[in-house]
Symmetry: D2
Subunit: 314 residues, 4 copies
């Protein structure tokens, strides 16, 4: 039954699966790897799955355009959760392989820039060929086509391989952010340290439109966390913006900002408000710091004052 | 009984009285001249009068600071009506006086710059001395102290004088704007071409505070009509701002702007929303032109959309 | 000879004269009181005087509109110096008069709000009548027309009076700012704590024009010190802005701001850069604090970088 | 010799080669295909090639991150030319193959979304497998591994294939923009319809930093054409911005904007000013439309006025 099924960007053994398994409810769900981000999300749209976990952003490679574009178009989906995963690679080999035995190595193209320096230092003469995913690379090592593959250490068991070297990563603090997307429903509950995701289209006749978009946020003291332009497909120079901001749609400053965007931009798609991952308990207790005058209490007080003015009691 | 009494900046025969008499209800009120703007307004505060008509702005001389400061401080008052009056002077003389008889002339100091060129052209050798008001000047001519006074033509009858020359004004289109102030109550009904008046105090620690004040208006597409800085009396360099904007407090864009100011500025005083004077019937029918995305309908649609997002129905 | 003559807003014994006498060069100049701000400034325009000292702003009463308007229009003048004067009144009487003898009191209308509370507390039954200036009031006491006058303590000697009470002021820290205006020439030398004065006219077709004016300053990190709207005389709702900002026209951030205004506003009049008064030696040594990236060194470094980019050496 | 050698993103038969061949000078250069964007650009950095043509942006797929990141980091390169190429695919087959014979088809992953609808309509049961490039796909068809490949029609001859269907593209007006990058030197000459490219890093402590970046452009009337965030590699939430604006570095409004960014942002990399592609002769003759007050003549006039003010001749 679909409510118990979560899809993810497969195959098995990818970082996406590892990220999905950090969610407590994953233990009680059927986890189904899919061949692509669109197929993982389409399974949700069609009702075959309750939710899909897909990568949305990598601290080294940037936005995952397939995910950004799938969320921006087609039948609406909403984000209910995010997972942050530290990305470190293991060099997986068939049992018994030594470092000096390795002549060929494979991995996802995205892995390459993250292990390039390590390769240059430790295996300068090795031949790299890309594979369709890190897990696919592991399978190809299992099949004997390559001597070693870069993948998550957790993929070793799946493919009967051994991690010869672990914790390989050129960039310090490489992370990937994944989102759990489902069909539209009530947003995740407010926690006080939340993130809200949107896609905003700008009118095409207006050079200052992006500035005005940002001013809708700044006028209400709402901090931007991420902004990414994506082509609309209507020709060169036509963009929409994928945006994350601090706060929850039930925070008044965020609600007013969203309404401001809705009023003044040709199209806005709300992608959800959900708890920020990677927030420690101290920061969670403190909540998002807001600019003076933009807390819910400030909004309520101002609305009360306005009502008194309108009634002649100010 | 006070409800039937209106005070105004006197004495009788001033432009303020003329402005007051343009209001239909003036015919059924007791109209009481007062010696100053503060005394006219204090009579309202104390309940001795229902309302007071006082000048607030002159297109040649600028803001009337006594009025601006009285409305900004002390017990709150609200503006319910404005009157625009074309300012043209008559040269009033005792019956029988010819232009060549005039050696001395008087009038309010504010009148002088508005008749200076006319004097230079027609009475170059005359001696000017200021009087406390235009009407006072007329009285001093009646008493024989001066040969002529500049005042409104309507003052002639009051003081037994004759208008020797009329329609004197150096500046084309000189106008004075008057406001009818009463105790706080429900604002005047929305007409579609309204003006809203405020006083806003800025935090003192913030060089960009005025810019942020203006951005509260511009973020909601609300046009400023007038902005005037006034000292707060707390020392050099400390100002508050007397502001008029287009629209009515029940217009959503204005309401949201007012709440934005209330949230982010140390102090805001609402001075009323009232019909703009000098708007012809065609402009009245058209209503204030608003920026796309800032009409009430746009606000309502955005609020509906927000509710749907919050409920998972977007 | 005119170079040795300074005019000022008279008559003798006013605060303006007191302010003028704080300037070291006043000792070697012929100081000539004039009946009005326009006549004081016209004497400079015509070459009869080298400079004129006139009040421009009072911390209680606000801008002196005669001065603002005279500097904004007519033959250009420039400000070379400012003087800040603490305003405290003395109650001047004929020798031998006791407080209980006083039935009538006079003074300039501007003095009244600054002594109102003192009067209510100490001479509640006294009759106030305004005089044309504080000094004129002192003269009228000398002539026996009134029992007492509010004026500067320094005016006592001029009119053979005694200061019965001194240091009277309702508002704490009441100050008046005076400016020394001369014909256009090279601005006063930069001191590091300077003020620059301008008048800026806005296009009439543009509701956001004031916001754009302020953004010219904020984009270059130049702090506004004062902004005052004045009618242009072309009809209700048409204003120009009298503006003071921190810094000197030779500061690069100020220079770029002025050029930005010149490019985008219909008309700009530069009124001078001059040392700020009331800056203590410590603040003077520190200089005006500027926003990071807006010092002269930052501008020079950026211009160097641009030149390298244009030459292909970046 | 290197001055005669241009590299490009290979292999032979790609759209990049087709774009390169639209440049007149390509006829007299040795054109060398490289396996990746980094290797194509590194050949320029090392002096082995004079310039490299690489794709930077696709109207369907968005920014080419390898190019954006290579230009943003490493030894500086500059853009001297751009090429816009309409992207339409041909279905290439071995001679004699009919549409009904096709069971397997290949092409670059980027091609797939651009031919998906065509495939669904005309070859609904075909099996798609991705190849490393469109040209590689053509080679694999030549070798008999697939029945057909999507590639540019121009690739047919290179691989001994026939275009069975041409002009296939799901998105109307799909275009790719390519840039010709060389070592830093004097920018391309100004044409009047130019594009300037930059990378700007923002300070990390400042939520409004992107807004301020945009205001540097808007304050000088410089239109943004493209803005793309890229991770800096220093951790999640740290971005730099790849920006294109209208105009040339020798246009004064652009020069002042660049200096403003240089002053206020931690790091700015100038990537060149170069003629905009796809501008017809009429638009070229008209030049870029600039906001009133921001033409070179306006800047020169303002600088002259400033000099007069500084000299006391305004």
């Amino acid at each position: 039954m679909s409510a118990s099924r979560y899809t993810y960007l497969g195959p098995e053994g990818t970082f996406t699966e590892a990220a999905l398994r950090t969610l407590p409810e994953a233990a009680t769900r059927e986890l189904v790897p899919m061949v692509s981000v669109p197929t993982a999300l389409d399974a949700v749209r069609s009702g075959e799955a309750a939710a899909a976990l897909v990568p949305i952003e990598n601290s080294v490679e940037g936005g995952v355009t397939a995910t950004l574009d799938e969320l921006a178009t087609g039948a609406p989906l909403m984000i209910y959760r995010e997972v942050l995963l530290q990305i470190a690679f293991a060099l997986l080999v068939r049992p018994g392989t030594a470092l000096t035995d390795i002549k060929t190595v494979t991995g996802h193209p995205v892995a390459q820039p993250q292990v390039r320096k390590w390769l240059a230092a430790h295996l300068p003469d090795v031949l790299w060929e890309s594979s369709a995913s890190n897990a696919d690379g592991a399978r190809l090592v299992q099949e004997g086509r390559y001597d070693a593959a870069f993948a998550g250490e957790f993929a070793a068991a799946t493919y009967g391989l051994e991690p010869l070297v672990t914790d390989i990563h050129d960039a310090k603090n490489a992370q990937t952010r994944f989102v759990l997307a489902g069909r539209p429903a009530r947003p995740a509950a407010r926690t006080g340290t939340d993130r809200t995701s949107l896609v905003v289209w700008l009118g095409d006749d207006h050079p200052g439109a992006l500035l005005e978009l940002l001013q809708e946020f700044s006028a209400r003291g709402v901090n931007l966390m991420r902004i990414e332009s994506r082509p609309t497909g209507e020709g060169m120079g036509r963009y929409c913006f994928s945006v994350d901001c601090e706060g929850h749609i039930t925070d008044r400053r965020v609600a007013e900002t969203l309404m401001g965007l809705k009023r003044t931009c040709p199209k806005v798609r709300f992608l959800g408000s959900y708890p920020r991952a990677g927030v420690d308990s101290q920061a969670l207790a403190a909540g998002t710091q807001v600019r003076p005058g933009t807390s819910d209490a400030d909004f309520v007080a101002a609305a009360d004052w306005l009502a008194r003015c309108q009634d002649g009691r100010a």
